[in-house]
Symmetry: C4
Subunit: 366 residues, 4 copies
């Protein structure tokens, strides 16, 4: 604890940029590394979850993500459930213009109401492909659409907001998370969360996994607008302790940690796991895939809030197919392609062969 | 304390950029958040004070600020009290030109003497609108114009300089602050101040509130010119302890803390209060309002000193009405619109419902 | 140790940029400074090793490097052993183009297989010049080409990879380093290595010297891609302790430390030795020599990996002959010419006359 | 002390940018501030010494500097003592060209030998004006030109090099500083020096004052070329302790500290004195004066070393007369004009009225 001033003390928190993975005394062959991530009844080849952002996830890219061994999550409050045909909306949102105009367009296009029948139809489309099905809602609208979700038969339901707590008090559409999860058949992944205590409460509420961070590291401006910030390395390392404590107090329930924010480079993905994450949720690298519906433009749900937008639309040059982005081969030396291969290499060079043991590696601050 | 060198030790001080608000385990509905700020007999809907800078405050914008629920402060040593018609001066000061020319023009235009009768007339204009009335002077000229002020019937009188102390020794027009406040009917807000001890002395001199910081964070160059700097997070947290100690030693007098500097983004406003401030004084976001007399150009009283200018004129794109800047809705994701809404959201996401309790939130260093 | 988060602690590591050489109370004449570096049976006038990068080392520049008093190392898996005539390849790789195209070309050109007979011929060419002969291979291909190397009669054999350990487990072409070195006549320099423990194991495996760092500081992107980083000042200072401990446990075997990374300015070369290195391996300053085969373009073996490239091709303006770069005179004030003269000056100004004692100088953090 | 790595520890040192002057509880009128600096028999109105750099000091600007109340120092190894008429050299050195060409020209122009008779004549010219006379030489040439200096009747002789020690061993033209000063009538100011111990030795050798730092902060590249760096705040604070210890051990001899480096803004000048300096040596702000012989171009003696240049020629826009730069009024808000006025203001705002007491002010780290 450091003294901020006479009336206040503060602890230091670190971002992924503040830490680095240090090679140890042993190295391994890459072919010995196993990236498998098992959560609930599902096993994934790679511990990578695609963020429910309209710029990267359409029904078809969500399916492709599953085929590549990861998990695609469709935004159930996004363009695909507001518009029967979202292409005209994408057309408008992928034109070059200044940030003020971009924000205005986002606010207008997302003013269109979410249609329950489109939630149903989009999930059915995912269901037909033989991949794990996942969709996301904000906490405020979860209760409203829960009945549709229950009939849809998803593998994972993601509740995702800037900050989601198990103890939300008051407000419209307030969600009693514990009760909701108890009554809901599908495993729930929920976040953002940033601290040991908040994460422990989410775990106790029955979350199968928690999203650590606020997502959209590349695009969000939460710090400038709200003053709220989550240095990710410390947040993940804090929540990892909550996972351990909950495992003990629950007599064996392992709540997964999904790092969701500032994970846009493969190096940061490796660091997230080295800090204790089981998997990562990524956005911007997928925006670089030729199949991305945003055609290189990237935005999150923070960017179209009607009264307080907190995200910028950004552009990324497209570099290859979604498969190349996730599994390689890479053609760019900047950590945005072959995400799985880079994680594998990082583990091999430091002598680890599975995710769980890699979580224990020593890190350095620099 | 760190050792600077063998002969000197120094303590570490932190700016708003060095700290962040960390979400806790509870969240609240935004409609439960109360932003009310009560000082003396007046209650404000939002804890936001407009800085007495000619670029943002004219009589009409000062009145509008009051109508929006905050406090507008007119610079009583500025264009409006030097010129019967300040529009030609504004015309010159809002033309694009290099910094050297801009400084020369500022020095020339502000060489015009302040007219006592204009102080009287401008305050009368504010008085007629049904909003709290406030005006500001520098310490050096307070004594001179005090008689006019007393007759004007203000709600708050602001004494604002780079550094104002309760123990000024020597110099022309030296002000005995304690005596002045004792004899002056209107509550006095006074600063800048940056340390526990200096603030405690101002409180003991009878200040209803102290301005922490030097104002004009966006435009001033005090650090380059004077070597003086006030990392705001530490300054506010230090002075908050002075408020607590003075409350005890005075048997219940609560001196308000107004953070005045580096508060140009809504995120920083939230941090200022999280460090212990009761309210904030803002300048640059208001320069972005379409009603701002500076038309996007922004300058403070530091910038026109005749022998030692210490501020730069800056330009900000105008983004919406003053109401939109203060109360929203926002159309930009950078923390310069919907200042009150952003503060409300920040408090809701961290589970706080009023300013006093939000002052106690834990912060992190990053 | 700092607390990253509740579940993890980390130690702080420092780069060359974080440290500085502090003048002491004594100065020396430059003519009293002796830069001699003795390793195995060979004595070098300057403790500078040219990195085995195709952009700087051809057979002729490797020879010239030896003539200047340093050590040139030829990349035995590079253009000179893949192509009988590498000039067309150099032609393609030294054209201006964007990074994506550059990476694609590098991957294509280095897809050509390495020819054993070319390894033999190139080493023979070096042998004929009367300078120390050194070549390098990656660990994965060392075993395969070992028989050719043994016949070639080198003075030093360099095994160089991103991270090389004495305990590599599994993978194709896995190298048992200890056994290899035991059976191999030529002294082996091996790395990169970054930690005390890993370095100690390499020393115990019989390495005559270890390369500390990952090389190619100017061009590699290991941090962005793998999350792995080696703040060099700390790495060298850590490994220097391994050298001391190994010296004692082996009863007198002195394993040399060659700093290999972030040593592209003469100031950093001085810092590397001040941290404990016996010599440095440099790349980018040599790319600025008019004789450099890369004609100012610079790339390392990281940049052409077929599935996970981790380096960028960079351009440096050519400033003088290789002799001027290494021994001066300098015509640029940026630390990229007269490397030996700058080291000599740095030692003289701080009062040291030989490499071994300069390793003990006090440094400061800033 | 921090652990750099297992074999090495290092202490932390701070630059002027790392520290700030914190206002205290008292303020003063500016007219109460006394900037007088007394050294030996001479009293200066302002504690500002002009650096012996050809870009700012000609005989006429050195004289003007004295008339303004400071001390001008002429470079006795520069253009004015190499050329009877230095104007053609200035013509060449003040043309716009790239850095490589600039360095080449500097090396060529300064290859011209220094003429003893010109040293004599230039000093005589200064002598005729009724101001304190000072000139500088490098340590290597001090012995050679000493006889001329003795006859010239200077008030101060400055020996200035990158690092000057009282215990220089070996080299051509080695200077026995203690003996030299003992036999030399004029008070000697000598540096650069950066540490307590080195400074104490210079004081014991009889220096009337020591120059702390390496000068030419704006232009020199000592860090990139030599790895040597002197974070100025710590250096001055360290040497201030040497002054105190020497005062005691010598029974009352007060050796002056002149901060020489990174003092190019008035804010840094105030910080230098706040760290313990008695006066500052400045270069770049003077290059902005219309009278500066370099016409805005600025270079130091580091920049023309024949084999290892360590400085860049830089350009500064000219802003006013030398008088305006030193004594104001200022027309720019960046700390490069009205240096004395800014120092006066800084002291007044923090409640100090003389240099000696201002040396004891508390600083903060940020």
């Amino acid at each position: 604890m450091y003294e901020l001033g006479r009336s206040k003390r503060a602890s230091h928190a670190y971002s992924f940029d503040d830490v680095a993975i240090a090679p140890a005394r042993r190295t391994r062959g890459e072919d010995e590394v196993d990236l498998t991530w098992k959560i609930d009844a599902v096993s994934f080849d790679v511990p990578i979850v695609a963020a429910p952002m309209d710029s990267v996830m359409s029904p078809s890219t969500a399916i492709e993500m599953g085929r590549l061994g990861g998990l695609g999550v469709l935004n159930l409050e996004g363009l695909w459930t507001r518009y029967e045909d979202p292409q005209p909306a994408y057309e408008l949102l992928t034109q070059d213009c200044d940030q003020v105009t971009a924000t205005k367009r986002l606010q207008e296009i997302y003013a269109e109401p979410v249609k329950p029948e489109l939630i149903r139809d989009r999930l059915a489309e995912l269901r037909q492909a033989d991949v794990p099905v996942a969709g996301s809602l904000s906490p405020a609208r979860t209760q409203e659409f829960a009945p549709i979700l229950e009939k849809a038969g998803m593998d994972f339901f993601v509740i995702r907001g800037t900050t989601v707590s198990a103890e939300h008090v008051g407000g419209d559409n307030a969600l009693n998370l514990k009760e909701f999860i108890y009554n809901f058949d599908t495993p729930v992944l929920v976040g953002g969360v940033a601290t040991y205590r908040a994460a422990l409460h989410l775990m106790r509420a029955g979350a199968a996994g928690v999203l650590v961070g606020f997502g959209g590291g590349t695009t969000h401006t939460t710090s400038a607008v709200l003053g709220i910030e989550v240095p990710m390395a410390s947040a993940v390392a804090d929540v990892a302790e909550a996972r351990r404590d909950y495992l003990e107090e629950s007599g064996g329930r392992y709540a997964h940690i999904i790092a969701d924010g500032a994970t846009g480079r493969s190096g940061a993905i490796a660091k997230a796991i080295a800090c204790g994450a089981d998997a990562v949720m990524v956005g911007s690298p997928l925006a670089r895939a030729t199949e991305a519906p945003g055609r290189g433009w990237h935005w999150g749900s923070d960017s179209y809030h009607p009264r307080l937008p907190r995200g910028q639309r950004s552009f990324f040059e497209q570099v290859g197919t979604l498969e190349e982005v996730v599994l390689g081969p890479s053609r760019v030396p900047d950590g945005t392609m072959n995400l799985a291969g880079a994680l594998r290499k990082s583990m091999a060079l430091t002598g680890y062969t599975d995710i769980k043991s890699f979580q224990r590696i020593d890190l350095i601050l620099h």
